[in-house]
């Protein structure tokens, strides 16, 4: 594997084409969705129509069969256009969320499940986190009881993004009680099934930013799931879920870098234009240096993101780099957004200058899908060989 510094011709074409779609949706558009909570339907429709949602899906089911590198590039372009996480999160799950089905689904399941996600006809959500277990996924409490024809799921989930509009849900639930399983991570199973609203109540959580893409609490009461909707082997859900985690972390890192770049571009422009004490504020090193530092941090994080993607695409172990990508991307993105708000002075706090929205959205990549602490735990343990702390 070599890490490419220059984009290939096809990657440059991808970047260009995605930039063109994003150019239709400017900061005013995203400010509007952030204000109203309106889901960016036309943007998602444009991305679906251009075949972009299938970027990393296999060609047999109508995808483009490209790698994580191209997917990360595309998602970064979306975020960097000013769409930030309002745009990226609106399509994020389509890109790698269904990797468990790609990797472990039967031929029949792939045919049934993937084409409608690529076309945008099906909208998926991802129900893993629970109120009582948090990051300790093995302790989740949602149960899937076996019946003659399949399973019945009962339990609670939290933070499920997109559940208001989802037609499908990828959900992990216990099929064997924790105390009867060989290991705590055994006995969990993964299902991709209809989001049946007669059995699921989804309530949006009022939150800090990204109002356009909501998160929910779910109450699931007796949701019947046919056995054809079980993904992979029963009891192996946790291990199957893990296959999608590294690409997802890499994508989030790349998206955060994109958001940071959007913020930095605005800050650089404003620092040129705003004149105080008879000179542009950007002429003061106190303003210029934080921006220059943010640039350097973004570039460094970007390299790690694309290294993680290159490793994954080459079929190599990418865990450490994927985790580092998410950590560094999240931090660099946040620092750039903070520097951008600061460079704007009081105007950084005004919605009119858009950077306050970026700043609020930048928190997402620091918290989600896994916390900084858990990433550092992973690196300490797996890379440095330190004892497990929890």
């Amino acid at each position: 594997m070599t890490l490419a510094i220059e984009l290939t011709e096809a990657q440059a074409a991808i970047k260009d084409a995605v930039e063109k779609i994003c150019a239709k949706y400017d900061d005013r558009y995203w400010a509007h969705t952030d204000e109203t909570g309106e889901f960016p339907e036309p943007f998602v429709a444009d991305m679906a129509a251009g075949g972009w949602l299938g970027v990393a899906m296999p060609e047999e089911v109508g995808g483009a069969g490209l790698g994580l590198t191209e997917a990360a590039l595309m998602m970064q372009v979306v975020a960097a256009s000013g769409a930030g996480f309002s745009g990226a999160s609106a399509i994020h799950l389509n890109i790698f969320g269904l990797m468990p089905i790609v990797k472990f689904g039967t031929v029949e399941q792939k045919k049934r499940f993937l084409p409608p996600v690529i076309s945008g006809a099906d909208k998926a959500c991802f129900a893993v986190t629970e109120p009582n277990s948090g990051l300790d996924t093995a302790s989740l409490e949602t149960r899937a009881e076996r019946t003659n024809s399949g399973y019945v799921i009962t339990g609670r989930k939290i933070w499920t993004t997109n559940a208001q509009r989802a037609s499908k849900m990828l959900i992990i639930a216990r099929t064997t009680p924790k105390d009867q399983a060989k290991k705590p991570t055994d006995g969990l199973s993964l299902f991709y099934t209809n989001f049946n609203r007669t059995r699921i109540e989804a309530n949006p959580i009022p939150k800090m930013g990204r109002k356009a893409v909501e998160c929910n609490t779910l109450f699931i009461d007796g949701l019947e799931v046919p056995k054809e909707d079980l993904i992979g082997e029963e009891g192996k859900g946790f291990q199957i879920l893990l296959t999608g985690l590294n690409p997802e972390r890499t994508l989030i890192g790349a998206e955060a870098v994109g958001l940071g770049r959007a913020a930095l571009a605005r800050a650089a422009q404003y620092s040129q234009e705003r004149v105080v004490f008879g000179r542009p504020i950007g002429q003061n090193q106190g303003v210029a240096h934080p921006l220059a530092k943010a640039w350097a941090e973004l570039e460094a994080a970007d390299l790690v993101c694309f290294k993680a993607a290159a490793l994954y695409d080459a079929g190599k172990e990418s865990g450490a780099y994927a985790n580092a990508a998410k950590y560094l991307g999240g931090e660099a993105g946040f620092n750039a957004c903070e520097a951008a708000v600061m460079a704007h002075g009081g105007m950084g706090y005004a919605k009119e200058y858009f950077v306050e929205r970026y700043f609020r959205e930048a928190m997402i990549a620091r918290l989600v899908p896994v916390s900084r602490e858990m990433i550092l735990n992973y690196i300490a343990e797996r890379v440095l060989g330190l004892p497990k702390s929890y």
Binding site: E9, A13, A17, G50
Partner: protein
């Protein structure tokens, strides 16, 4: 009918142009290059003629060939055209400035070999704004031409072109083969979709040199100087309409 579409690689239209400090030209280093926007419109029209759309029945064009003259990287511009729907490409590799007459001669050599029914070009390239190649090509081929097209209708073996001219629209009817150059309002070019970008990777691009085509592309013009436009003077705010009118009168504008 085969349709040829020449496409030029130019500085992206969104970018601010920077004149080189020594006044010899424009700084292109590390800047994004894209297809000339008028050429995108030309590709779009040709692809609509092939696929159907924009008033053209499908099959009006049987094949769309994109041609670019420029450095190796001009291949990317051809790929963009292929991703929009052109069938194949021809790259004429030439480093440095190729002047409009040389471009027209190279295109004539390709037209002689390809025998298209129609060549659609952008009315001008946004870098040097020459607005000459289409006209020169028509003269070299002795073909009819319609420049600044805002509508093209192919019917009964003729090409009817509506042109944007000062004060209105003019419609010309051309015998084929013909040359048409595009204006901004002819169509709105599509975005390349991901599946079409993937397909474009597999479409053939033929590489040629000016020598292959027997054309001497040595420049005949010397650029004396390239300079920034004069800096805009700051505007002024006026309080009343009377002040505005007085100001305009004083400036000799009304």
């Amino acid at each position: 009918m085969k349709v040829l579409v020449p496409v030029k690689r130019v500085l992206d239209y969104n970018l601010k142009v920077r004149v080189k400090a020594d006044g010899t030209g424009v700084d292109l280093s590390n800047l994004k290059m894209s297809m000339n926007p008028f050429d995108e419109i030309a590709v779009e029209e040709a692809v609509r003629m092939k696929e159907g759309g924009g008033g053209h029945p499908a099959g009006t064009a049987t094949e769309v060939v994109a041609i670019s003259i420029g450095p190796e990287q001009a291949q990317e511009t051809i790929r963009t055209a292929l991703a929009m729907g052109a069938d194949r490409g021809i790259l004429v590799k030439a480093e440095g400035e190729v002047e409009p007459l040389a471009v027209a001669k190279l295109l004539k050599a390709i037209v002689d070999a390809e025998q298209p029914g129609l060549v659609i070009l952008g009315k001008q390239a946004i870098d040097d704004d020459s607005n000459q190649v289409g006209q020169m090509l028509a003269a070299l081929l002795d073909w009819p031409q319609a420049t600044f097209a805002s509508k093209i209708v192919v019917a009964g073996g003729k090409i009817n072109v509506t042109r944007e001219i000062d004060g209105g629209l003019q419609t010309l009817s051309l015998e084929t083969p013909a040359i048409v150059t595009t204006d901004l309002r002819l169509n709105e070019p599509r975005y390349a979709s991901l599946p079409n970008i993937m397909k474009a990777k597999k479409k053939p691009i033929d590489a040629k040199t000016p020598a292959d085509l027997g054309v001497d592309v040595a420049p005949r013009l010397t650029v004396v100087k390239v300079a920034d436009p004069p800096k805009r003077q700051g505007g002024a705010k006026v309080k009343t309409v009377q002040d505005l009118v007085a100001g305009l009168k004083a400036a000799g504008v009304i």
